[in-house]
């Protein structure tokens, strides 16, 4: 099936093969760098996440894509929807802030004049859940700011199903990458 293309490739030489693989690799690298750059701008390690459960219905459904930001020196308010990760758990959770608690620390024997946002404590609850999240916190009573990945600023419905499908069926991911790679090798700009 690919004998024609393989013959053409062999005729055109090794440099040509390198150039074509470079095309493919640079598309992947650009996508990766754009994602990382977005993470740097929004100050969060995953600027784009997919909703996996239905605990925030009717606001967010399974398969929605969320865009996160994490302003470093701003207080999180009650009502913000946050994504957080408990240390020891892999999966981030999307829930709404129910209560916040500002902590004034004593530094070098001197009490701070104002509580700093990075010392904020947070309690969350999913809109569609009956109870708040304290059971999910693995022993903690409050979430600290360092557990929070970001707060939601925008969303796209349904698009996340592609990611869910690729994670549930890894063969789909391989097939997609393989197909794209083959296409990149054979086509010439």
């Amino acid at each position: 099936m690919f004998s024609e293309e393989l013959k053409t490739l062999r005729k055109l030489g090794f440099r040509h093969l390198l150039l074509q693989t470079l095309n493919f690799a640079s598309v992947l690298a650009s996508g990766l760098m754009i994602y990382k750059g977005l993470g740097l701008i929004t100050n969060t390690e995953s600027p784009i996440v997919v909703v996996l459960s239905g605990s925030m219905e009717p606001a967010f459904h399974r398969g929605d894509i969320l865009f996160l930001v994490n302003p470093p020196n701003a207080r999180y308010e009650i009502g913000d929807i946050t994504v957080y990760k408990i240390p020891g758990q892999d999966i981030p959770i999307v829930h709404r802030i129910l209560e916040t608690h500002d902590v004034v620390k004593v530094v070098n024997g001197v009490r701070e004049a104002k509580p700093r946002p990075e010392n904020q404590l947070i309690l969350t609850k999913g809109d569609n859940n009956y109870l708040d999240d304290v059971e999910l916190y693995q022993g903690l009573d409050w979430l600290e700011r360092k557990h929070i990945v970001g707060k939601v600023r925008g969303f796209l419905p349904y698009v996340g199903y592609v990611t869910i499908a690729m994670n549930d069926f890894p063969q789909l991911k391989c097939a997609l990458l393989g197909g794209l790679g083959l296409l990149a090798l054979v086509q010439r700009e």
Binding site: L19, L22, S26, L28, A29, K36, T44
Partner: protein
Amino acid sequence: MARGRKGVNGTSPAPAADSPSDSTPTPPPRSILPIPPTTPKSRDVVKVNNANLIELKNALDDAIKRYLSRPDLFKQIHLHTDVRLALGWTGVLIAGVTALYSYRLEYEKSKPVIWIGLIVYIVLSLSQALYAYFIEGDTIFVGKRKTFDKRILTERITLNTRTKPSTPENPPAYSLSLMYRRSTNGGKSLLNRGAASESRPYTAFFDEQGVLDHDRFETWVGEIVGRVMEPEWE
């Protein structure tokens, strides 16, 4: 005059070209052959999609590269390709290393690493794009040839090609321009320099099925290159 020039495809050069040389001093002898006629050999049939201008241009570009890279003709210099490959692959590697770092380190610690990686990647990608656009431009072939006469003669040829889009009167055309330099003493004494630019519509070389007529194309290219390689007697 013993020039040993064979006309392409059996045609003989115009006699008017020979007469000025009678009254001029003897040209320096050279063993440089003008472009020999195309040798019919078993060649693969090149068939492209007629409607796709990019495929048409690529097919002709490849044919030129194959033609001029013959052992008795020029040796291709891959500088432009190599620079693009080096810049591109370095960028990809940097992107990979940055991603690996960010995967291993905690987010706050990995931020400066990601900044550096991102900026280096942007610089490399930008320079690759600028190089391809400004310095490489339309060049498809850069070739060099060294011959030994009484001294070492170096010839260098550069070919640029463009597609001229179609107008209501003309079909899309393939525009070929080349620059040629012959020098000696390691490039310090210039012997001859020439340039030529011509265009033909794609319909001159491809038939309705999209099959490339190798002979006709190579005749045309050989004619232009041979013309440019002729020395000017002063």
